[in-house]
């Protein structure tokens, strides 16, 4: 077979195996090595809810897709150029994601009678059964080669078999001409206390690399040159880490120590885990007894003067609803991060969706408007969290930040910012006043009340969930209530004076405007670029601020013949826009499959208009 070195602009690789096969790690290491090499990357972990689902079954397959490019990469890619399948179930579950021209690497050792049966194949020829005979399929005896590689290592059989993902990674490093140094460094860090494992893992990695270079079955290897990136220092970051860091950044800028009360929930837990690490920056985290305590400890901390945050996912936000109303009526600063997942109820907890928008906007008793923001990429979670903190503290109100499992788990290279480039955060803390302190007296610009911290002499006051007069006295006076309801709504509305205008990507007027919010940005952007390249009159307006909307929203919409609202739900944002700007007609492109859009979904929707 003729060996070709392809100079590729971008390549999509999908690693798939049993949920215990270490595919998330393999994919992450490949992505990190590529990012450090200077490629653009975007990753998409796609894993089941079970930690170790029944071995060898389709339901237990865990996947990790990474898109690597020397050009701009905005999505993890629709279909893959290379699929790695560690067992028959992984092949069965993932063959549909492989391009017609894809190379498929499988662990031949796993394709025995038992393996095929567990995966539900009816014949002993899974390739034919899946109708993928025309793909370049490489049957590599990965398990036995790993055993052979480590037979003198002194490791037990279980530990040896567990190393097979490193063999696979080595093969991929050959195929894609990746440097191995970064992974060596990772192994040295990870196994600092078990030096034996550093050597064994390195050996298997190198043996996998050498095996791939020797077999000649790999027709194509790829070079993906470093991307032309803006000068600067870069790191790879996922959305949950970026969210945690953005919150820490807001704490530092405001001088208010960070407090996070939270309860573990997929896929938001990593934010709590990340914050728990950073005690060096004064962050206090409290893993609570439940979701309600998560938000309530944070409300208590906010009253005491902390920059308080709570992190959760859909069902957790439901549990926090009543307390969110308390944060709103007591007008305390609080950031609530909802890493959205597939619902309703427990739904498909490890899969992504944008189905909590209605809950974020409306899910409370009484008239309880709350500022709602959304992050649009893994690294943008940093800025989104920072500004959520700025709005919460400067405007004295809770702010909901919506991210998504797709963003939280996905990663991309990020040009490291400098904190001096971020604005100051100046909470309206009051230290003394003439006469008695009146907790609900507002400033004229933001309509925010003052923040009087317990411990300050002379500012003793009471807040609570009962309606109050501006002086802070309990009041059930009808007109006072109506005035207070309006004042709290006005405060949220006035945030619009402080948010950036809605930008249009592409021409500012034309045939079709794609409208999106949150984590669909990469796919919408790629689709718009492709359509524009094909000469179509298509632009994109992507919303980071949802309540309130940017002030120029209607003006932007008015310049287009079609408005196509694309979102991973049945039309929640479209309906919201219909309520606020009913003068326009909104067409919809929706997907509720627990999966992100594919660029193709958007292209099809536009072409069908």
């Amino acid at each position: 077979m003729q060996h070709k070195v392809i100079d590729a602009q971008d390549v999509v690789i999908r690693f798939a195996g049993d949920s215990g096969d270490g595919m998330q790690l393999t994919g992450t290491l490949f992505a990190d090595a590529s990012a450090l090499y200077g490629n653009e990357i975007s990753t998409f972990p796609d894993y089941p809810a079970e930690i170790r689902a029944p071995q060898g079954t389709v339901s237990g397959v865990s996947g990790f897709q990474v898109h690597v490019g020397s050009v701009e990469v905005n999505t993890p890619g629709d279909l893959c150029d290379v699929l790695v399948a560690m067992n028959p179930a992984a092949l069965k579950a993932n063959a549909k994601w492989a391009k017609a021209t894809a190379t498929i690497i499988v662990d031949a050792d796993a394709f025995d009678e038992k393996g095929l049966e567990k995966a539900g194949f009816k014949t002993d020829d899974p390739i034919r059964e899946l109708q993928i005979e025309d793909r370049n399929i490489i049957l590599a005896p990965i398990t036995s080669l790993t055993k052979e590689s480590l037979k003198d290592s002194g490791l037990d059989n279980k530990a040896i078999v567990r190393s097979k993902n490193m063999f696979t990674l080595g093969m991929c490093y050959f195929m894609f001409n990746r440097p191995m140094e970064y992974t060596f460094e990772y192994l040295e860090r990870k196994f600092r206390k078990k030096p034996q494992l550093i050597e064994t893992n390195k050996k298997v990695l190198k043996d996998g690399f050498n095996y791939a270079s020797n077999i000649h079955a790999i027709a194509n290897t790829y070079t993906i040159k470093p991307a032309q990136q803006e000068k600067g220092l870069y790191r790879n970051i996922n959305g949950n880490q970026a969210t945690a860091w953005g919150l820490l950044a807001a704490a530092e800028k405001s001088g208010r120590p960070l407090f996070c009360g939270s309860y573990p929930i997929t896929p938001a837990t990593a934010i709590l885990e990340e914050l728990a690490i950073h005690k060096e920056l004064g962050a206090k985290t409290l893993q609570c007894e439940d979701e309600i305590a998560g938000i309530c400890t944070s409300i208590g901390a906010a009253y005491a003067g902390a920059f308080a945050v709570t992190t959760t996912s859909g069902p957790g936000l439901s549990l926090k609803s009543e307390a969110l109303g308390l944060a709103m009526i007591t007008e305390l600063p609080l950031v609530i991060v909802d890493v959205q997942r597939s619902g309703p109820s427990t739904g498909i907890p490890t899969k992504t969706e944008q189905t909590d928008l209605n809950q974020a906007l409306y899910g409370r008793n009484g008239e309880c408007p709350i500022m709602v923001m959304a992050a649009h990429s893994p690294s943008h979670c940093f800025d989104a969290a920072f500004y959520a903190g700025k709005f919460a503290m400067e405007h004295m109100m809770p702010v909901i930040l919506l991210t998504e499992g797709f963003l939280g788990n996905g990663s991309e290279p990020w040009r490291i910012p400098s904190m001096k480039d971020y604005p100051a955060i100046v909470p309206p803390i009051i230290t003394e006043c003439e006469g008695a302190y009146k907790p609900y007296v507002r400033d004229e610009v933001r309509f925010a009340r003052k923040w009087a911290l317990p411990g300050t002499p002379g500012l003793e006051h009471r807040v609570g969930g009962l309606e109050k007069s501006p002086e802070g006295v309990i009041s059930s006076d009808p007109l006072n209530h109506e005035m207070m309801v309006a004042a709290r709504a006005e405060k949220v509305a006035r945030a619009a004076n402080f948010i950036p205008e809605l930008k249009v990507i592409g021409e500012e007027s034309g045939e079709t405007l794609l409208v999106g919010w949150g984590g669909t940005f990469g796919h919408l952007y790629s689709a718009v670029k492709e359509l524009q390249g094909a000469g179509k009159s298509v632009s994109l307006a992507h919303f980071d601020y949802i309540n309130p909307l940017p002030k120029n929203t209607a003006e932007v919409f008015s310049k287009f013949k079609n408005i196509l609202v694309c979102e991973l739900n049945s039309g929640q944002f479209a309906n919201y826009l219909r309520a606020l700007h009913p003068q326009f007609e909104y067409k919809q492109c929706n997907k509720v499959q627990g999966q992100p859009f594919m660029v193709k979904d958007i292209l099809d929707a536009v072409n069908e208009l």
């Binding site: 790191r235 820490l248 305590a293 901390a301 005491a304 904190m419 003793e460």
Partner: protein, 338 residues
């Protein structure tokens, strides 16, 4: 700074029913705080009164201090966050039997388990008052209420047993009308580092009048209750002639002078014993078999959660090479694009 009870009274009109036991607890707090402030060197602005929902949860409005009247059951969680965020605050929490033990039961036991330094005053009237008379988790078995017209069929919680079960470090009990004892207990609660729970047996004139009458009745109080004080023998009775001894594995009431019993045979109260054995028996004593225990039953020193959190932060800060966001952003695996 010297304070008087007057300094702790807010200008808000107290809206509890006339004769409600809550009035007496409020007065006890307002009288205890000047003493607490003097003993511990506290200024008024460090006190925060936190509450949930229910009659007793209105208390923060009547205190001229910082206050937070929150939502049903969640006061303990709110107090917890407040104390962890600012350990220099002294948190008092007013809560009822429904608020703390029904809807807020989870937060209650976990605060105790963590030993957060907060002072919980549990107003136990064995009824839901603000919703007008439904049974609570402490209502006696068989009690007839609006939601149990044929009598309840569920066993009540004993709050003290719950506290000890969660390895609580402080538990005290008193009667609303015992102002002097209340002040003594509230001072001990303030001095205790960790979660203090004081169960106040309060009377609800409207929906559960006389719930504690057997104990509070002036004529018989001394014979039906025993006030425990650390280091003192367990003596009670109008004539101070009754006492408690350990008979095998059980506590038994005896009369001094009968069957050769002298004061030396009596149990001596050790509130500081970490072992919950005797404390469990003491909190569980019921009239008429035994007198009901009042006073500080358990007061054990242990490290608090808020101190542990603070110490951990200081320790990590001392040893970490990272001191700012810019340093964090540049830490770990990075690469330069030139």
């Amino acid at each position: 700074m010297k304070y008087t009870a007057q300094d702790f009274k807010s200008n808000q009109e107290v809206r509890w029913c006339p004769g409600c036991g809550d009035h007496a607890v409020l007065a006890s707090l307002q009288r205890a705080l000047p003493e607490v402030s003097e003993a511990l060197g506290y200024n008024k602005e460090r006190y925060v009164f936190v509450s949930g929902i229910g009659c007793s949860s209105r208390l923060p409005y009547y205190m001229n201090t910082y206050g937070f009247h929150s939502i049903h059951g969640r006061a303990t969680a709110i107090s917890t966050g407040m104390k962890v965020a600012n350990p220099n605050l002294t948190i008092w929490q007013a809560t009822g039997d429904g608020d703390a033990l029904a809807i807020g039961g989870n937060h209650f036991i976990h605060a105790i388990r963590r030993n957060i330094d907060i002072n919980i005053v549990l107003f136990n009237n064995q009824i839901y008052g603000l919703t007008k008379g439904q049974y609570s988790p402490t209502s006696k078995l068989g009690m007839v209420t609006k939601t149990s017209p044929y009598g309840t069929v569920e066993h009540p919680f004993n709050p003290g047993s719950l506290v000890l079960g969660a390895r609580g470090t402080f538990f005290a009990r008193s009667l609303d009308s015992e102002l002097k004892l209340n002040q003594e207990i509230l001072l001990a609660s303030a001095k205790h580092d960790g979660t203090s729970v004081t169960e106040m047996l309060v009377n609800c004139m409207i929906f559960n009048d006389g719930a504690h009458a057997t104990l509070s009745d002036r004529e018989h109080r001394a014979d039906r209750t025993i006030v425990l004080r650390h280091g003192e023998p367990m003596i009670y009775g109008k004539n101070r002639d009754k006492g408690l001894i350990l008979d095998g594995m059980k506590i038994k009431s005896v009369t001094i002078g009968e069957n050769g019993i002298t004061e030396k045979d009596l149990l001596v109260h050790d509130a500081h014993d970490p072992n919950i054995g005797i404390h469990s028996m003491l909190v569980d004593m019921k009239y008429p078999e035994l007198p009901v225990a009042l006073g500080v039953i358990r007061d054990v020193a242990d490290k608090t959660y808020d101190d542990n959190v603070r110490d951990q932060v200081i320790d990590v800060q001392e040893h970490s090479p990272i001191h700012s966001m810019d340093e964090l952003l540049r830490s770990g695996a990075t690469w330069e694009v030139k």
